[in-house]
Symmetry: none
DNA sequence: AGCAAAATCACCCTAAAGTATGAGCCCATT
DNA sequence: AATGGGCTCATACTTTAGGGTGATTTTGCT
């Protein structure tokens, strides 16, 4: 039904371009007939045509080029019933590139331990835990431990 | 140091375009001189030039313009464990004597919000939230917000 | 109306958390 | 032998959390 119209619309620029080309040629011919145009001014003609149609080409290209597609990934939360059976989301884990130690710290964080307590528990210094937790926050793209815990639980990184 | 080279590189296409235009004109002139080209074949010239330079224009535009970007949003599914069958432990709640507001603060805490953010969310001052959270910690018998969240979840005070 | 609990807020102070940066050590891979 | 990642630790600094205290205002209840 609308096929013809579509074809016209799609090739609108192309058709207009053809028409303009024809018109321009007629115009030139008419000018040639009406006024005295010196023969050796041919280069001027050619140059003018070249410039005009270069511009046309540029315009055409800009109009007709399809934009490149840039994919933006948006996280969509899907809720699942999963009560007792905790399964570690290994895909997510490897995607986030969390190290063993970082995950360990995250787990202890989730139980409500302070950095000091975690440090004691793991027999390392407080500064070490701070470094780990900072990296965890970075990787999880969060700002606080509470956020980290919340997100990690939602992602099934910890139970 | 590399400024000159840069200028050349940047305008490479432009320069090449100019050169090609000049060459083409020379070529046409040469053809005109060498062979018998009928006068009224002017339109053919013009057409040829038009086509060639349209192509050149298109090519130029494609080369020089930054690619248009079109953002396409792709949803990525993230699986979240959630107990649909969450039942608030009212016994525990009344036993602990948590007020409405305190529970509210606790819930927001669990989502990883800072006191400041909670204050904004509830349209009250930071100090108020501090007071509330302190009372929550007291009543839950914990020392930190992370502990409070953990305990509250275990007690089914929050989901 | 009067009372108690709840909610609000302030100020001051300390503790803990978090950021930034740099560095050393160990281990596996190239 | 070199490279890189993971783990460790330090120092210095900023921000946020939390404790203590007191005060005012709302609100629900008798």
């Amino acid at each position: 039904m609308q096929t013809k119209l579509n074809i016209f619309n799609r090739n609108k620029q192309l058709i207009l371009y053809g028409i303009s080309l024809a018109l321009l040629l007629f115009l030139l011919r008419w000018l040639e007939l009406k006024f005295i145009i010196i023969d050796n001014a041919f280069e001027i003609y050619a140059g003018a045509i070249a410039i005009i149609f270069t511009a046309l080409g540029i315009w055409l290209a800009l109009k007709l080029t399809k934009p490149k597609v840039q994919t933006v990934i948006v996280e969509k939360e899907i809720y699942i019933n999963q009560n007792n059976d905790f399964v570690l989301n290994e895909d997510e884990l490897s995607r986030l590139n969390l190290s063993k130690r970082e995950l360990e710290v995250l787990q202890l964080m989730a139980t409500g331990l302070s950095n000091d307590e975690i440090a004691e528990r793991l027999f390392v210094s407080l500064n070490t835990i701070k470094t780990h937790s900072s990296k965890v926050f970075e990787k999880l793209d969060v700002k606080r431990r509470t956020q980290a815990v919340d997100k990690a639980k939602k992602l099934s990184l910890i139970r």
